[in-house]
Amino acid sequence: MSNKFLYGAAMALVLTACSGGAAPKSASSDAPPPGKGKAFDHDPFPSTYKPYPGVPTAIVHATVYDGEGGRIENGTVLLADGKVVGVGGADLAIPAGAKLIEGKGKWVTPGIIDVHSHLGDYPSPGVEAHSDGNEATAPVTAQVWAEHSVWPQDPGFSRALANGGVTTLQILPGSANLFGGRSVTLKNVYARTVQGMKFPGAPYGLKMACGENPKRVYGGKGREPSTRMGNVAVDRQTWIKATEYKRKWDKYEEKGGEPPSRDVAMDTLRGVLDGEILVHNHCYRADEMGIVLDMAKEFGYKVTAFHHAVEAYKIADLLKANGTCAAVWANWYGFKMESYDGIPENLAILHNAGACVMIHSDDQNGIQRLNQEVAKALASGRRAGFQISDEQAWTWLAIAPAKALGIADKTGSLKPGKMGDVVLWNGNPLSVYTRPEKVWVDGAMLYDAYDPKLRPVSDFELGQPGEGDVK
């Protein structure tokens, strides 16, 4: 905590120095260049999230899935100072004074990470006044940031925590646009401001979309794009602009001179071209993913993950070769033409091919049952003949989405030194009869099924029928 404050103070000094002296409005060509990536603040809405206090805790006698494919029977997980400090078998020494949590017959896993959510941007109640997820006024809106739409009082966060065991989630803009805008990664902890929920140090994402949605939304308005080829044409024109923008700013930052004009949309795309912002691309069909992968090569960026990707199984080898992940549902299919070929073995086929794959929800109800989605995908895979263990399947909820969000060094598995984001399940979490019993975020117990005081109630639900009820 103190380190974070020191870092923040240091940044503030740097920024003051920048705006106060090094880059005045009328910078002349003899001003020293600011240096790559340093001409302006890349984090103007910084995280103010602070871990809540926890107590040194030892969960004992539980079955442990570490989130990276490991499993320990009769295992022990130790938490202290907000971190995982030990994971092992019954022989692991328990520090004196640690609060003991009996886990016999129960399971311990890392907190679930949902790489695709719209909580806060499309909150409950879903009234028109809350429709803040798609800036559907132009096909390229890279300038919008999802965090500026997040309503931190969305009751959905509490359900995702208590029923879903979700501790981290990425909030994405919708898929109406080719370039939907910046995503934000949150800790699933209520706060008064979105900054208070922002995952410290998580990189930004850029939401892109291919396929039916952009062409339907803008074709319906009689403008480009109205076809899939129109989608790709607008994409490429935009990347050409972004490349030019990046060239100008790189030149200025490295060599100095007159600063180019700022453009909020282009800032984000430059961040992608610099590898600082990760691309999360809504795409259903295999052939379209193939086009996008080549477009990424053309402009020198990487697609971190295709989302939804119901036909990813058809190109598992191509995804693996490109190092691009697929974030998928277990068995959604046939709800629109581009999802017609969805199959429940999608996840397992990708896993078997060695591709990076994970579960996602894209849904305020589904986010409460991501463990069940994994159980279904796993069972379908096994029926198709793939040998996948339960603990391997848990990577689809843990380390795989952590990697896709660029936070695998901080959370996503039970490894000493990582954030104490942990779920204690009241049974086998791949059974329909199991629910989270306790959830810790950064070592603080923020949900306990046995303690109604540890049941978060958003401002919206306060004073309403059903306030504080089990949900």
């Binding site: 058809k314 080898d317 581009e338 070929d341 049952r369 009869y433 629910r435 099924a449 009820d469």
Partner: protein
């Protein structure tokens, strides 16, 4: 009998079914032995039970049931046997996808008709969704139209998901009406507008001779009024979609003015707040399963314990997969039912025991529309919709190994399994994938 024998016998029955799809398979006598049998009527599962099917109906199910000498025996040792799942609110057969208006017969906003619309005329048994959902153990569905030009959506149908060409079990099985947030929009903008039109429409149905069907001020067509006559008489159930506690009370009050109405509440997310009133009115509920978010202002008090609390109050309660956003998948029903069992282990929550949970997706939806003598359980005389599962039917890993509808073996393959088999290894071989089948 070993697993492979089971597969062969089911395969044989399947070939027969496909070769003579409308004729002799019905007459076949089948005994499914050795499995854990769940009747679907709310009772707990019976180990080492037997289910006997003849002439497309259940003859007997349970422990100690004799196997007729003529029966084809299917060994279900280590497996579970249950009635087929009944989807209480469904779009199967009339909608292939939301983004495809070309294959969507749910609503007709530009039609002059509403209550008269008969969804049974649109059901296509060859749609991909029917085959896929059937292979997950869904055998019957209540196909429900959506509102168009009024809050009357029209007449729904009960269908089977079999491969036979006639999917309709009961056409015009019920009338469907929206009287909550969706209803106010469809009726012109408010709940009072919906109730005013409802009163006018039922008035016209009661006295068609004195109703105005011809002037430009006519509120309803003659055909719509005629369609509402059986609702008024109570010979056709009226399914009413409402969520809010106060809306539920308004609907229950209709019984005072129209005592013959056979009301069924659909949705009823805040039903737990008025559970005793619903119970004493003897109105069954097809509840939206697992809704626990105030996604609308009419469902502010949503909780997954709604179903359990309604059942505890004595309400006949089924669950549907409607109004939950995880896709329109009837195959999620066993998972939702299983979640209700999970609630029984959560402090402060109210769930269902296993037998009641299975009943909520089999006999209870059937009972809600007065068809539990016909479908939804393995009790003697019911249509032989039977599923053999490789495990507990409510568990996430379980899947059907054999499916019978009206006693006829159904394929367990679907378009999805065909795609799976083509792409188990995604890489092309000697010829393009288009040649692999």
């Amino acid at each position: 009998m070993t697993r492979s024998t089971l597969l062969r016998s089911v395969g044989g029955a399947l070939c027969a079914a496909l070769s003579f799809s409308s004729l002799p398979a019905l007459a076949e006598t089948i005994a499914i032995t050795g499995g854990t049998v769940a009747i679907g009527d709310g009772s707990q599962p019976i180990e080492n039970g037997t289910v006997v099917i003849a002439n497309g109906r259940i003859v007997a199910a349970g422990a100690g049931v004799a196997v007729p000498a003529s029966a084809t025996v299917i060994d279900a040792t280590g497996k579970w046997v249950s009635p087929g799942i009944v989807a209480g609110v469904s779009t199967l057969g009339v909608m292939e996808g939301y983004g495809m208006s070309e294959v969507n017969d749910l609503s007709a906003a530009k039609s002059p008709f509403s209550a008269a619309l008969d969804i049974s005329t649109a059901v296509n048994p060859n749609g991909q969704r029917i085959g896929t959902e059937r292979s997950a153990g869904i055998t019957r569905a209540f196909v429900i139209p959506s509102t168009g030009n009024t809050m009357f959506a029209g007449q729904g149908a009960v269908i089977d998901l079999g491969t036979d060409p006639d999917p309709v079990t009961r056409p015009r099985a019920f009338q469907y009406i929206e009287l909550g947030e969706e209803g106010m929009h469809a009726a012109g903008g408010s709940r009072p507008a919906a109730y005013a039109l409802l009163k006018a429409a039922l008035g016209a149905a009661a006295n068609p001779a004195s109703a105005d069907f011809v002037s430009k001020d006519a509120l309803i067509t003659r055909q719509d009024a005629e369609a509402l006559a059986p609702v008024l008489r109570g010979t056709q159930p009226l399914l009413v979609h409402v969520e809010r506690a106060s809306d539920i009370r308004s609907v229950l009050a209709l019984k005072k003015q129209y005592p013959a109405l056979k009301l069924v509440l659909v949705g009823a997310t805040e039903g737990w707040m008025v559970a005793n009133e619903i119970a004493s009115a003897r109105v069954p509920v097809i509840a939206a399963a697992l809704i626990d978010l105030p996604e609308k202002f009419e469902s502010i008090a949503a909780t997954q314990s709604n179903v359990g609390r309604l059942a505890k109050a004595g309400v006949t309660v089924a669950i549907s997969n409607a109004d939950i956003s995880e896709g329109p998948y009837e195959s999620f029903l066993p998972q939702y039912a299983g979640n209700l069992v999970a609630l029984t282990r959560m402090p402060g929550a109210q769930g269902l025991d296993w037998g009641a949970a299975l009943a909520s997706i089999t006999s209870k939806p059937a009972a809600a529309i007065g068809m539990d003598g016909e479908i939804g359980s393995l009790r003697a005389g019911r249509r032989a919709d039977v599923v053999v599962w490789d495990g507990d039917p409510l568990e996430l890993a379980s899947h059907p190994t054999a499916i019978f509808i009206d006693g006829v073996a159904q394929p367990t393959v679907s378009r999805q399994t065909r795609l799976r088999d083509r792409y188990l290894d995604p890489v092309e071989k000697a010829l393009p994938k288009a040649y692999e089948r």
